[in-house]
């Protein structure tokens, strides 16, 4: 009897010992060299993995910061000022605040401009409306107007007017909640300075867009040609503004035949 207990105990202890030794050996053999700066920066970041810095997550941003001195340390929005100060300290650079930013909805197709193809009577949610043939609007790229962004906004910065969402850029703190909530990915965080914005996200060809919405970008390239700062490019039949180049001169707004460009 005593023997059986002894064997059982020895066996389990033996298996445990082998596993333990194996893990210890493995942890030294397979150790990955870690950049100390990277770990420190990673700890200073909030860990939300929101991606608003433009990297794959907090780990990606920390890695980029540690390895490349050209990467700006002020890109983390959830971390805000505290994270910036901490990162600047770790990197040994001067604290430089990021330009103020706020969210913007890239759709201007309200109920006067955008055609409707069906009447939606279901759950009051954009995500749900989108599942039914891309939503009730003729344009499947645009604002669905059920207010998923408004529901997640904790700062009362969003209102739905004439069937599309509008963001009060004074109240907006650029938390990015609405960016993730929008099933059509219409919301982008933009600089607060005066820039030209495209109020359309439709990537169809011009002829199709004209039938769907009076406000839609038809990809005519006029803005791209007119822009003195070369800040606008048309890709996938849709104009895109490079906000770092845009000087806010307004030339593109005057020239746009469908009025889907406006100044902020």
């Amino acid at each position: 009897m005593g023997n059986a207990v002894l064997i059982a105990v020895l066996l389990v202890a033996g298996v445990g010992l082998v596993a333990g030794v194996l893990l210890v050996v493995a942890s030294t053999v397979f150790a990955v060299p870690v950049n100390e700066k990277e770990t420190a920066i990673r700890d200073a970041l909030p860990g939300a993995n929101c991606g608003s810095c433009g990297y794959s997550g907090c780990d990606g941003y920390a890695k980029a910061l540690a390895e490349n001195s050209d990467v700006a340390p002020n890109l983390c929005r959830p971390g805000g000022h505290d994270a910036l100060v901490a990162i600047s300290e770790i990197l040994g650079v001067e604290v430089k605040e990021a330009d103020p930013v706020a969210a913007f909805v890239h759709c201007g197709g309200d109920c006067d401009k955008c055609q409707t193809k069906s009447e939606y009577q279901g759950i009051e949610s954009c995500a749900s409306a989108k599942m039914l043939y891309g939503g009730p609007n003729a344009c499947t790229y645009g604002c669905l107007g059920c207010g998923d962004c408004k529901k997640v906004c904790e700062y009362d910065a969003i209102c739905i007017e004439k069937g599309i969402a509008h963001i009060n850029r004074e109240l907006c703190v650029a938390c990015g909640m609405c960016v993730n909530a929008c099933p059509n990915h219409l919301i982008e965080i933009l600089p607060k300075k005066t820039v030209a914005v495209v109020t359309c996200s439709n990537q169809e060809k011009g002829a199709v867009v004209r039938k769907e919405c009076a406000n839609g970008c038809i990809g005519c390239m006029k803005c791209q040609k007119n822009c003195p700062a070369e800040a606008i490019t048309v890709t996938n039949n849709l104009a895109h503004v490079d906000y770092s180049k845009c000087t806010g001169c307004g030339t593109c707004v005057e020239g746009c035949p469908v009025h889907c460009l406006s100044m902020l």
């Binding site: 064997i7 389990v12 298996v15 194996l22 942890s27 397979f30 150790a31």
Partner: protein, 197 residues
């Protein structure tokens, strides 16, 4: 031989589905099924770990525990071995395949003590499977898990936007929809016998 392996595989995937018929591995099933890509990532990791766990535990049971009459130590030894194995795997992946580590990394520690993985290894023994049969059965169970995760993630993306009564919000409505999916899976009962006999 091949036919019997195919029967084991098919019944593990469809009839004796670990999540929907045996109700093992419910924790990741409910926890990681909110998005389809995450669900698939989790499912693939589980397949991998189940195969690996069987590869390690079957010889331990056959050549270490059974000859010494210590079959009753199965549970504790298996848990120990699987946990150590997953840790080891994590280290190796981190060192040599960082891309795979980043995509599986979040799920691997979750699987360490997953009851579905332990269940597969123990059931392989109690069903009296040989080594190859055990591996095939593990593969089938893993595939079944992946299928269940994937299907349920699809169901859940619709349930998430619905507005149930307040008391049903969140986990309750998810459990109710899981039970409906589970009932739907009972439609597969008998399909394997009918196919192969």
């Amino acid at each position: 031989m091949l036919k019997s392996l195919l029967v084991i595989l098919m019944s593990a995937v469809l009839v004796d589905n670990y999540v929907l018929s045996k109700f093992l591995g419910i924790c990741p099933f409910l926890g990681v099924s909110k998005k389809t890509d995450q669900a698939v990532g989790m499912g693939l990791s589980v397949i991998f770990v189940m195969l690996l766990a069987t590869l390690a535990t079957w010889p331990i049971q056959t050549y270490l525990l059974d000859p010494n009459g210590l079959g009753y130590l199965q549970t504790i030894v298996f848990i120990l071995v699987i946990a150590a194995l997953v840790q080891l795997l994590e280290m190796i992946l981190k060192r040599y395949i960082p891309a795979l580590y980043r995509s599986l990394g979040v799920y691997l520690p979750l699987i360490t003590t997953n009851c579905a993985v332990l269940g597969v290894t123990i059931n392989n023994i109690s069903d009296g499977y040989g080594f190859v049969e055990s591996l095939v059965s593990s593969l089938g169970c893993g595939l079944g898990f992946l299928l269940a995760m994937w299907l349920f993630a699809g169901v859940r993306s619709r349930v998430e936007v619905a507005v149930p009564p307040k008391s049903f919000k969140g986990i309750p409505i998810t459990l109710i929809s899981a039970s409906i999916v589970s009932m739907a899976f009972y439609g597969f009962a008998g399909i394997v016998e009918a196919l192969f006999k």
